[in-house]
């Protein structure tokens, strides 16, 4: 069998123990953070270098076997879902920080390094790595590159794509290539980041290090309802302030967080807003006074300020625990990720309320209010017949709302397998076909993480007049040309 033969040859190019075929061990890798999609991989490999990844990819090409890259497996869209007929390439053994270069404000790291480990390596020097997805303690930088991860602070500082200066990648046909922000011509680096593993595998990442801000101040504002909170957000942004983060939680999300971590948010709050400002001390001080005033004017009934790290952590505890916390108030839930223009937030939240009432499905709302990125948590009881389906329906309708309001079906979790079916609602066939031209350029055989992002894979075909000579399939006697 092709896969068996491939696995034998792969074992020959990897260190001992780097190939997993034992069915029990393979099951460890059957899903990522989106656990309701499960596929046991055909084989798992744990390479230690770009050369080893390139060798595995070349062998996959030789046998026409698909491959999927995986970091820590924390993704929430099934982007690292394996294939039974394919090889899962796990970067967990490639976790060295190769270089920290403060003078040039950059670090060079292997793809399996966790997001937070970069910050930890440079914090004592007054630097940090800006993108901070909430899984940052465990998620890998390679996965961040694949998903173009954001985080609570991307409102001011941008996403992974804005903080990666160069990448070493293994292309889907097994070449090791460096993509550099300073390269002239097409921004291939920018196109690669966020391509969800469909254009190749990251083997080395040069990240930009940011100087830690002089001052950070965090405010927790409690409102009676979400409309007041939304009004405060609009007034802050409208006033020309770009906070590092503005997060909002509704009453149900607050209740869940209280149950889980006893975050002690003001009692009776229908919504809480977390506003974080950072930058030069004098600027933060001035803007903070303005933010406090705006919150009071919008109806905030309690304000708490944190200037010290411990106080700040206390404010963030509730927000950061929110996803897991809903487990305390619901047996099962779906984490949704959609984006609307920030000004459409009030309308969309009202519509979500209606959907919720109509289908008898509770929805807890947690969102990055500053950039309109919603994370509705759709709660249901999986023991109740039909509840799962209703929750799926509500969850999908929320994405429809995002599209109707000119937003996006995903702000940071990616399309993966989970949302490829929604892509045709957001994009035309021509849009998707054009995107797939990029795929065909990088991966004409469609071996790199196939079945993700696009609902219908494109058959790439040959480029007219480009490849000369006899087709390899013809040459090997496996195909005839008419």
């Amino acid at each position: 069998m092709t896969l068996d033969e491939l696995v034998r040859r792969v074992a020959g190019v990897l260190p001992p123990g780097a190939v997993i075929t034992d069915p029990v061990r393979l099951r460890t890798y059957e899903c990522d953070g989106l656990t309701h999609h499960r596929v046991v991989p055909g084989a798992v490999v744990l390479p230690e270098s770009a050369e080893q990844i390139a060798a595995v990819v070349r062998l996959c090409n030789e046998y026409g076997v698909p491959f999927v890259a995986r970091g820590a497996g924390t993704g929430l869209s099934g982007g690292a879902l394996p294939r039974t007929d394919g090889v899962l390439i796990v970067t967990s053994k490639m976790r060295r920080i190769l270089q920290v270069d403060l003078e040039n404000r950059r670090a060079v790291v292997e793809p399996g390094v966790t997001n937070l480990a970069i910050t930890e390596a440079v914090r004592e020097h007054g630097y940090y790595y800006a993108p901070d997805p909430s899984s940052q303690q465990v998620c890998t930088i390679g996965g961040n590159v694949a998903e173009n991860s954001g985080g609570a602070h991307c409102l001011k500082y941008g996403f992974t794509v804005n903080h990666v200066l160069a990448l070493e990648i293994v292309t889907p046909d097994g070449d090791v290539v460096t993509l550099d922000a300073d390269d002239p011509g097409y921004d291939l680096l920018g196109a690669f980041v966020g391509s969800e593993g469909t254009l190749g595998i990251t083997t080395k990442v040069t990240v930009r290090l940011s100087r830690a801000p002089q001052a950070v101040t965090t405010l927790l504002a409690a409102f009676e309802n979400i409309e007041q909170g939304g009004q405060a957000v609009s007034a802050i942004i409208g006033g020309g302030i770009v906070p590092a983060a503005i997060e909002m939680m509704d009453a149900l999300a607050i209740a869940a967080a209280e149950a889980a971590v006893a975050c002690g948010y003001p009692a009776g709050a229908g919504a809480v807003l977390i506003v974080e400002l950072d930058g030069p001390e004098a600027e933060v001080r001035r803007q903070f006074a303005e933010v406090e005033r705006v919150c009071r004017d919008s109806g905030a009934f309690e304000l708490r300020t944190a200037a010290e790290p411990e106080e700040r952590a206390a404010i963030w505890r509730g927000r950061k625990s929110a996803f897991a916390a809903v487990g305390r108030i619901s047996p099962a839930y779906i984490v949704q990720d959609g984006v609307v223009p920030r000004t459409a937030l009030p309308q969309v939240l009202a519509s979500i309320d209606r959907l919720s009432a109509e289908h008898g499905i509770r929805v807890a709302n947690v969102f990055h209010a500053g950039d309109g990125n919603l994370h509705p948590l759709v709660l249901f009881d999986d023991a109740e017949p039909g509840a799962g389906e209703r929750a799926e329906l509500v969850s999908g309708r929320i994405l429809d709302l995002c599209i109707e309001h000119g937003g996006s079906i995903t702000g940071e979790h990616g399309v993966g397998v989970d949302k490829s079916r929604y892509m045709p609602k957001m994009f035309t066939d021509d849009d998707l076909d054009t995107m797939q031209l990029v795929r065909c350029a990088f991966d004409p055989r469609g071996l790199s993480n196939p079945g993700k992002v696009f609902p219908t894979p494109r058959l790439c075909g040959e480029v007219p007049g480009v490849r000369k000579g006899v087709h390899p399939l013809v040459e090997s006697g496996r195909a005839e040309q008419f």
């Binding site: 002239p184 921004d187 920018g190 002089q214 942004i237 020309g240 030069p280 399309v415």
Partner: protein, 486 residues
């Protein structure tokens, strides 16, 4: 919101020149290529788009097109592209025409698609800090509209009359790249028309969006070789309530001719010797970039090889006074000369010192030259070495650009000969390469063709070629304009 904008036509564009052969029937690839037996020109006219004969002002890096089309919508561009596909016409898009002389000359050019009439600001969603524009909108008219609501596209385009599409296609950025990034960082959605007339869109109207591939990134820096950008959506920033520029002069480098600090005169002969700079410009850039006063930009202006170096930092936003003072102290400490505060933008010119004001130096955000223009990128630690490499050539070179981001533009005198330029380029590449440097020739005279490798080694060339082959298999979009003949 529909706001029509008057854009100035490119100089010389109205000088109509009727060349022979304009009426000839062009054969498409293979039988029946010419659509319905119409000549290419008739077919172009049948689209309803305004078509004119090309004039002397329409040349692209010295190559004269036959016709110029003035479409007003994405659909009209698509119609033009379908006709061009049917008649095998080579197409070059043009915006303000400010950088038509950049890049390689196209291998051929039949149709110039002038985006001057794609000049509407389609939607300024100020509450969302987002703007959607047609590609032919000039950055000035966009700035004017946005400023009316206290917002800006933080791009500092260094060329007057440049259009949004042209800025994207050539990926130029100005001083505040340090804080806001470049065009690719501010672009959140794009509409493009491909060589076969396919209209494709990616991204959208929200800043945070990871659905699908980012075609906008791909088209940024594409020099028109993948298709035509017809619409763009940008994220905006509030205009800072205050701006302060802190400017310092660093002593000129020691040169072989004087054996001491340079004269500061542009006539100063000789080349830089030894360690070169009495005060390291690289160290100044690194220190300012790391300052918690958070300057938005740190720029350098220097007439190599022996002029005084001027460094200017911009602090903007709230509480600028205190932050400017911090930058001033830092600069004063490094240059060994305590700061003096100039009144309303005045600072002592010609004497070393540190000054501060609310006006930018007159060279701020302006390209150092036009005709022979190079771009040198290097990691900040390599700035001194790269500057020395420039100075050692002995040519009077105006060096200007971002010191903190280490993206410097170099202008050589217009009369610089081909061989001289080629020598300069290869020597600077050789010296700055080991420092991580990359030198690109943005503009240089095409006739007589100098022996200059404009792009230098490009490691991603094979991948770029594969992208080009997929997007434009017949090589009709600005063929040859980019590195490696792409």
């Amino acid at each position: 919101m529909d706001v029509p904008h008057e854009n100035t036509p490119r100089p010389g564009a109205e000088e109509v020149l009727r060349g022979p052969g304009a009426e000839e029937v062009l054969r498409g690839p293979g039988a029946g290529g010419a659509m319905g037996g119409l000549s290419a020109k008739e077919a172009l006219r049948a689209t309803g788009v305004t078509i004119r004969e090309a004039g002397s002002g329409d040349a692209v890096a010295g190559v004269m097109p036959r016709w110029v089309a003035l479409p007003e919508s994405t659909e009209e561009v698509a119609a033009l592209m379908r006709v061009s596909a049917g008649h095998d016409l080579a197409v070059v898009p043009v915006g303000g025409g400010t950088r038509l002389h950049w890049g390689n000359p196209p291998e051929r050019c039949d149709l110039l698609v002038d985006t001057c009439c794609l000049n509407e600001i389609l939607e300024h969603a100020s509450g969302d800090l987002v703007v959607r524009v047609q590609a032919g909108v000039t950055t000035e008219s966009l700035a004017e509209t946005l400023a009316a609501r206290g917002q800006e596209l933080a791009l500092d385009v260094p060329l007057g009359g440049a259009t949004v599409g042209g800025v994207l296609a050539t990926a130029v950025a100005g001083p505040r790249r340090l804080r806001y990034g470049t065009a690719r960082d501010l672009l959140i959605g794009v509409t493009v028309v491909l060589a076969d007339g396919t209209v494709a869109r990616s991204g959208g109207k929200v800043v945070k969006n990871v659905a699908g591939y980012d075609l906008g990134k791909l088209f940024t820096g594409s020099y028109g070789t993948l298709g035509i950008i017809t619409e763009a959506v940008f994220r905006l920033h509030p205009i800072a309530p205050a701006r302060r520029w802190i400017t310092a002069e660093l002593p000129a480098p020691r040169t072989a001719a004087t054996g001491s600090e340079g004269s500061g005169s542009p006539m100063g002969p000789g080349t830089v010797e030894g360690s070169g700079f009495p005060v390291s410009p690289g160290a100044v850039g690194v220190a300012l970039a790391a300052s918690q006063a958070e300057p938005s930009a740190v720029e350098l202006d220097w007439l190599a090889p022996s002029g005084v170096l001027t460094v200017s930092a911009l602090v903007e936003g709230a509480a600028t006074e205190g932050r400017a003072a911090a930058v001033r102290d830092l600069l004063g400490g490094m240059t060994g000369r305590p700061g003096t505060t100039g009144e309303s933008g005045e600072w002592p010119v010609g004497s070393y010192g540190v000054a501060e004001g609310d006006k930018a130096p007159d060279w701020w955000g302006v390209l150092p030259g036009e005709e022979v223009l190079l771009e040198l990128r290097v990691p900040p630690s390599g700035v001194d070495g790269a500057l020395r490499a420039v100075a050692r050539r002995g040519l009077p070179a105006r060096v200007r650009g971002s010191l903190a981001s280490a993206v410097l533009r170099i202008a050589l005198p217009p009369e610089t000969g081909g061989a001289e330029l080629a020598g300069f380029v290869s020597a600077v590449r050789e010296e700055s390469g080991p420092l991580g440097g990359r030198l690109t020739v943005l503009a240089a005279p095409h006739e007589p063709a100098p022996q200059v490798d404009r792009w230098g080694p490009v490691g991603t060339l094979p991948l770029m070629r594969r992208v080009k082959e997929r997007f434009d298999p017949d090589r009709r979009m600005s063929p040859g304009r980019l590195a490696g003949g792409i």
